[in-house]
């Protein structure tokens, strides 16, 4: 009697304890720095930090090989911002994160071979110029300019995506295409183009399908 009863008790207890199987309610993970140029622990199929770093680096290198941009006798005035950079994809993103990184990288790498015009700061500059000209503030140290700088070239571009879903497996795939173009602001000639494309695929856990 003793052995079978004990064995059955253990078996039943085990089953009952398994019934109360608890999901770990961990306290969390302390903040850790993640390399933005590599895939982090949370991933999706959209445009992520490593994609932005990779694409802007590639575009910067490519742009610096264009003689009209990087080897002109007089450094051209270029405007690199998101004003004419359209997002037609299904990824919600702040386009400035792409154009800002591109501008900063280009500015540092070009070492004076291009002059960057901060058109997004035009309002700020105009206000200060007005204050100086009205005599409300002094003329500061730099010589006065007749007008703010105009642009020779301006960045344009488009982000597009193509999404596909397999309802049978729950697999999703997104092809992302980002094009960058430098446009002559007098003639509308596109003097440089670059393209960056990648596709990502993922399948969510069955509990979400």
């Amino acid at each position: 009697m003793r052995r079978p009863t004990a064995a059955l008790c253990i078996l039943a207890s085990g089953l009952a304890l398994a019934a109360c199987s608890r999901v770990d309610n961990s306290a969390g993970t302390p903040t850790t720095y993640v390399d933005p140029s590599s895939a982090g622990p949370v991933r999706g199929v959209g445009i992520e930090s490593q994609d932005i770093i990779s694409m802007t680096d590639q575009m910067m290198r490519d742009m610096l090989t264009e003689p009209r941009l990087a080897n002109a006798a007089t450094p051209p005035h270029v405007i690199v911002d998101s004003e004419y950079f359209q997002n037609e994809s299904s990824s919600r993103l702040n386009k400035n994160s792409i154009t800002d990184r591109l501008r900063v990288s280009l500015n540092r790498a070009s070492q004076g071979r291009m002059t960057f015009v901060g058109r997004n700061y035009a309002d700020m500059v105009a206000k200060e110029r007005d204050l100086k000209r009205q005599g409300i503030v002094d003329k500061a140290t730099l010589p006065g300019a007749r007008a703010q700088k105009g642009g020779d070239y301006r960045l344009g571009g488009r982000i597009t995506s193509l999404d596909s879903r397999d309802p049978r497996t729950g697999t999703m795939q997104r092809y992302n295409q980002i094009i960058f173009e430098m446009v002559d602001l007098e003639t509308a000639e596109i003097i440089w183009s670059g393209i960056y494309e990648f596709a990502k695929s993922a399948q969510d856990d069955i509990i979400y399908r």
């Binding site: 009697m1 003793r2 079978p4 009863t5 004990a6 059955l8 008790c9 078996l11 039943a12 207890s13 089953l15 009952a16 304890l17 398994a18 019934a19 109360c20 199987s21 608890r22 999901v23 770990d24 309610n25 949370v42 991933r43 999706g44 199929v45 959209g46 359209q86 997002n87 037609e88 994809s89 299904s90 990824s91 919600r92 993103l93 702040n94 386009k95 999404d163 879903r165 309802p167 729950g170 999703m172 993922a202 399948q203 969510d204 856990d205 069955i206 509990i207 979400y208 399908r209």
Partner: protein
């Protein structure tokens, strides 16, 4: 049975019975929130939602997306767009994260763990609506391309319906994509988007080329989820929906200095409703009005998803539960028979053997019943409870001098229910007027089924600054100041 054995047997039975109770996974429980952290967190939150935000803190990661969505919507309705943006961004971050090799996801698949222990991501209709509200917030800022991306992202969430005709048919999304494309000055893209809208919603009318204000009216309350076990077309379905509110319609009126233009694009064969609308738009009195068009029935979207892949796992759990229960019943019958043999027999050896058999079968029955009882085959019924039932829309061509429109909510029989004045928020080329028939502030601080039953009805006591102060020493108890 000897006396010692009997006691061991009784203890084992008692222990097992105790173990069957209170099998609420720890992850379901609300955590104790630090008062200081809660006060700091609640400082900039709307007073109407402080209890809700406090509960969101206590419920943590498991309900993060759910609480973000309901509080994001409530914040949006209260005009706290900055907060709403943060909450929806966080919710969409959770929705878009791919759960692969995730521990909580793995655990939720286990036999003895409830589906609702998983991190909430919502059913497709809920996910789509999170993208919808985020898109409206982008539109409010004049970021029409990102708004379009959000609506497009939402449409993709609707791609997994069981039946093909119900896949990617969330017409509200392509309609708003098209509207956003127009507002960003891209007519060719708008044309593509409206084509997609027509694929989802037949020949419904489109905004006119001169329309520059979109009025969106949300009526009714959220579809309600409930757990059930039924087979539809051979496939098991464990999650079902029911409509929670009656049909309402919306009549929109405005005062304009000049009559508005009728829509330039409309469906090939206009029906009576469209003619009425056109006539109403052209009234020369300066007071204009039109019926809003039903763009989306949220309940319909929720109810036509069909069976989920996960339902097959729940079905497996349910079958295991049923078989184990049957084994338990058979063992009980066996134990009763063996017990009666032991009682009737005069032979001591037979009595002993029958008693052993009775005990063994009783334990098997108990173990089987405990196991069957512990199998968690119920679907997760947590839901976004402040969603609307339907979304109506009316695109209008209104001059900048028109700052608001009046929205009259009507019953299905045409009885007026309530009237709201809605401000038009203009950004860039377009304006948006958004209104709800019912409050967006959830009645309960907790989303339905977001906590164990005993916690669901517990009152929420917000911490006060007093609760942070250290206890004052009581001289009567001999406490002395240093």
């Amino acid at each position: 049975m000897r006396e010692g054995s009997r006691w061991r047997f009784r203890l084992a039975v008692l222990g097992l019975a105790a173990l069957t109770t209170g099998c609420v996974a720890q992850r379901e429980q609300e955590l104790k929130v630090d008062n200081g952290a809660a006060l700091a967190y609640l400082e900039d939150k709307p007073p109407e939602l402080q209890r809700h935000f406090y509960i969101a803190m206590a419920q943590g990661q498991r309900n993060r997306v759910l609480n973000d969505m309901r509080l994001g919507l409530a914040s949006f309705a209260l005009g706290r767009t900055d907060l709403a943006e943060q909450l929806f961004d966080d919710a969409l971050g959770g929705i878009e994260a791919v759960y692969a090799n995730n521990e909580t996801a793995l655990a939720a698949r286990q036999l003895f763990v409830k589906e609702l222990t998983k991190d909430f991501k919502g059913e497709p209709y809920e996910r789509v609506m999170a993208y919808y509200y985020r898109g409206l917030l982008y539109m409010g800022r004049g970021e029409y391309d990102t708004a379009r991306a959000s609506f497009k992202g939402g449409m993709l969430q609707d791609a997994f319906a069981e039946e093909e005709q119900n896949r990617a048919d969330f017409a509200l999304m392509p309609y708003l994509q098209g509207w956003a494309s127009r507002c960003m000055g891209n007519p060719s893209l708008a044309e593509e988007d409206f084509k997609e809208f027509h694929e989802a919603k037949g020949t419904a009318s489109l905004p006119g080329l001169k329309d520059n204000v979109l009025v969106l009216v949300e009526t009714g309350s959220a579809p309600v989820k409930f757990a059930t076990a039924e087979s539809a077309g051979g496939k098991p379905r464990f999650l079902k929906m029911r409509r929670a509110s009656a049909t309402e319609t919306a009549w929109i009126s405005w005062a304009a200095p000049a009559p508005s233009q009728p829509p330039a694009q409309s469906k090939a064969k206009p029906d009576k409703k469209d003619k009425d609308r056109d006539q109403a738009l052209q009234q020369p009195t300066g007071k204009h009005g039109a019926d809003a068009m039903l763009i989306e029935d949220i309940f319909h979207q929720a109810a036509t998803r069909g069976g989920r892949e996960f339902d097959a796992l729940l079905d497996g759990k349910a079958q295991f539960k049923s078989v184990t229960n049957t084994v338990g019943n058979a063992a009980i019958v066996g134990a009763v028979v063996a017990g009666s043999v032991a009682a009737r027999s005069n032979n001591k050896e037979t009595q002993r053997d029958a008693a052993i058999a009775t005990g063994a079968l009783a334990l098997v029955a108990l173990a089987a019943k405990v196991t069957a009882n512990a199998v968690e085959a119920e679907a997760d019924t947590r839901y976004w409870d402040n969603l609307p039932d339907r979304v109506y829309g009316l695109p209008l061509s209104l001059p900048d001098s028109v700052h608001s429109v009046m929205v009259e909510f009507k019953s299905a029989s045409g009885e007026p229910l309530r009237t709201r004045e809605v401000t038009i928020k203009r950004a860039g080329r377009c304006g948006l007027a958004w209104v709800r028939g019912e409050t967006a502030i959830p009645f309960s601080a907790r989303a339905p089924y977001s906590a164990p039953t005993d916690q669901m009805s517990q009152p929420v006591h917000l911490p006060t600054t007093q609760s942070l102060k250290p206890a004052t020493p009581d001289p009567a108890n001999g406490d002395k100041k240093e």
